[in-house]
């Protein structure tokens, strides 16, 4: 049962055989992993292909998820243009990253993609200008804590999250694709320089397809955003499936990973998408990947992909989650810095959350 969502994403025909309880479980697993929109599209697609009668009790949930997605995508389209407009006087064309890039670039990974915020990439030497222009356009940082502000600015690859004063939309402004203190150093400048302008939306850029995959993989294995791990892996699966229809794409992707220093995250992403979603890969790639052995790390991640909903948890899942969380930090910061950072975080009192109504 724990594998249900993964099974269905991998083989949508299985939807036909679900009973009431399995349907409920499936929707809950999708909600817990932010894959609700994607599942809803998949369900509808199966129904459209006459391979499935959507049960009456499931239909409202599919409808709700699809409406939410449609509205979110419209919002992302809108905000991307607002961001571009704000940066226009600086002569900077923002590069959209991840979800928003898929949506504006009409990538297959846009299907049913849900959002909490938008990520953009800008040149590092223009960061101060970008921040003030966005501030003038209404996006401000809500992080008051000075240490947190410093943490982002000095060590990370992004500004503290900005939120629009009126519309409440969030932006993460990146100036690099990996943290400054990270063990993996992506050649962000090169990836930024090779970004492509969207043909239908001049002024807005996205990374070239191979770089989108490399960044998505890097993000998945560096950030400790475990609830989204399966969604990110599903994004990668869709991107890989789509682009690999083009002859030689995987080869180019592997070469590009060499060039920009992201071989490790790519290899891991290829191994994991192939294992979890059965993403088709060329034999030569599979042979090469077969020689890499990281059984412990793989086991931790395979657990993370399925344990975000309690139905997929095993007794050791919390430990595995913790190990991955620590590892994420370890990857992002050198040890002495990490010790100082975690000590500070541990000693600090959490501010009281506002009373919920």
């Amino acid at each position: 049962m724990t594998q249900l969502l993964i099974d269905v994403l991998r083989e949508p025909a299985k939807l036909k055989h679900l009973n009431e309880f399995a349907w409920a479980q499936l929707l809950r697993q999708a909600r817990a992993t932010n894959l609700f929109g994607r599942l809803a599209h998949l369900i509808e697609h199966q129904a459209g292909a006459a391979a499935l009668n959507i049960p009456a009790y499931v239909a409202p949930h599919v409808f709700a998820a699809k409406r939410l997605c449609t509205a979110q995508h419209a919002c992302v389209q809108n905000e991307a243009q607002n961001i571009a407009k704000a940066l226009l006087p600086l002569g900077i064309k923002p590069v959209l990253l991840k979800g928003s890039a898929y949506v504006l670039g009409n990538a297959p990974a846009a299907i049913g993609r849900m959002f909490s915020d938008m990520d953009i990439l800008v040149p590092r030497d223009r960061l101060a200008d970008v921040e003030s222009s966005l501030m003038l356009a209404g996006w401000i940082s809500h992080i008051d804590d000075e240490y947190d502000q410093r943490y982002y600015r000095q060590w990370m690859h992004e500004l503290p999250p900005l939120m629009h004063m009126k519309r409440g939309t969030g932006i993460d402004v990146h100036h690099a694709l990996t943290p400054l203190t990270c063990r993996w150093r992506a050649d962000s400048a090169r990836m930024l320089a090779d970004a492509i302008e969207l043909p239908n939306l001049p002024g807005i850029k996205v990374l070239q397809p191979a770089d989108q995959i490399l960044h998505s993989a890097t993000h998945l294995y560096l950030e400790s955003e475990m609830p989204n791990a399966l969604r990110d892996l599903s994004d990668l699966d869709l991107l890989l499936r789509h682009h690999s229809q083009q002859e030689g794409f995987i080869d180019q992707l592997e070469q590009r990973a060499q060039q920009v220093g992201l071989v490790r995250p790519l290899d891991r992403a290829l191994r994991h998408t192939h294992a979890v979603f059965g993403t088709p890969l060329p034999t030569s790639t599979l042979q090469r990947l077969g020689k890499i052995s990281q059984p412990v790390l793989d086991a931790l991640y395979f657990d993370a992909y399925r344990c975000q909903h309690p139905s997929g948890k095993r007794w050791w899942s919390p430990i595995a989650q913790w190990l991955l969380f620590v590892r994420g930090h370890w990857m992002r910061m050198p040890l002495p810095l990490l010790v100082v950072h975690l000590t500070r975080k541990a000693l600090r009192r959490e501010p009281e959350a506002p009373e919920s109504k």
Binding site: N19, E20, F21, W23, A24, R28, R31, A32, P55, Y57, V58, P60, H61, F63, A64, A65, R67, L68, T70, A71, Q72, A74, C75, R167, G168, H309, P310, A353, E355, S356, K357
Partner: protein, 307 residues
């Protein structure tokens, strides 16, 4: 099978394993060992259909006692949807209100198949009146009073609008009365069914008034919005019913929508359609009887104009 078909002991056992309660238009799977909620659950939802095996449920919720040392000194209760707890724990004796509030949260945060308004809604025949208003405007009291004077209760707090048809969908759950309005309503409708008073909650004292049998029986019968009325209780004021422009009414609905931003253009279109089909007013009142009369007049005028 109905909830009231079971003895308290059976309900206790069923809740321990988890039971599915049909609260139209939703199904709620509730699991809890807190048997103290059973009398209120039975009083408010006794005539609802239940299912004892776990099938499909829109919301899977549970009430638990946090496993902290505090439980020996000051017992508490926590609400979960699936594995997520959206609220801080409350004192143990507020377990039942927490179930109601938790359910509100589930509906308001996830049921995007509807445009969701923080508004009371009732109907006379096929015509619904929507009462959007911030807390403290006397909306619940007015809604409770109308529901005992020939108006069918849809909800005192959650207006569900089906965007495909523009109809409002009933969710007849108990009316949440607060503070002074508890005694006001007990006097105003002595025959209605009131539960115990829960003191000192974060909303003050609360008490649940059960919807009429008719409102529950007609839970699947939808209605078309006919009026949008912004009520405001003002002590000692004479009743005034002032026509309101449609743009203003639209703004009032949008301001009180839970998912206006989430649904973007869809919610604007739906609410614009609602306002187009409605007569819109703002209402200031201090005496319930007068207010009820004003509603009756509106309903009558509508019937006459239709003839």
């Amino acid at each position: 099978m109905k909830l009231s078909d079971l003895s308290d002991g059976d309900i206790r056992q069923a809740l321990h394993r988890g039971l599915t309660l049909r609260i139209e238009p939703f199904s709620v799977y509730l699991q809890t060992d807190i048997h103290q909620i059973i009398p209120e659950l039975k009083r408010n939802y006794g005539t609802r259909d239940i299912q004892l095996s776990e099938g499909f449920a829109d919301f899977k919720v549970s009430l638990k006692r946090p496993r902290t040392f505090r439980r020996w000194l000051q017992p508490q209760v926590e609400f979960y949807q699936d594995f997520f707890s959206p609220f801080k724990p409350l004192p143990f004796n507020q377990a039942y209100p927490m179930f109601e509030w938790g359910l509100n949260w589930c509906v308001a945060s996830q049921s995007h198949q509807y445009v969701l308004l923080h508004a009371a809604v009732l109907a006379k025949g096929d015509h619904a009146v929507i009462l959007p208003a911030p807390p403290g405007s006397g909306k619940s009291t007015l809604c409770a009073a109308l529901s005992t004077r020939g108006w069918r209760l849809f909800s005192d707090e959650l207006t569900l609008i089906d965007p495909t048809t523009g109809e409002v969908v009933p969710l007849p759950r108990p009316v949440n009365l607060k503070n002074n309005s508890i005694d006001v309503m007990r006097r105003y409708a002595p025959d209605a069914s009131f539960g115990p008073r829960f003191n000192d909650t974060h909303k003050g004292d609360v008490c649940y008034m059960r919807p009429t049998e008719q409102a529950i029986d007609d839970a699947l019968v939808r209605a078309k919005p006919a009026w949008v009325i912004l009520p405001k209780y003002k002590p000692d004021a004479d009743l005034t019913l002032t026509p309101m422009g449609r743009p203003q009414a639209l703004a009032a609905l949008a301001e009180n929508a839970f998912n206006y931003e989430q649904l973007g253009a869809d919610s604007f279109d739906t609410l614009a359609q609602v306002v187009d089909g409605c007569a819109c007013y703002s209402l200031e009142y201090s005496r319930l009887d007068e207010a009820i009369q004003a509603f009756a007049d509106l309903s009558l005028a509508r019937l006459e104009s239709a003839v």
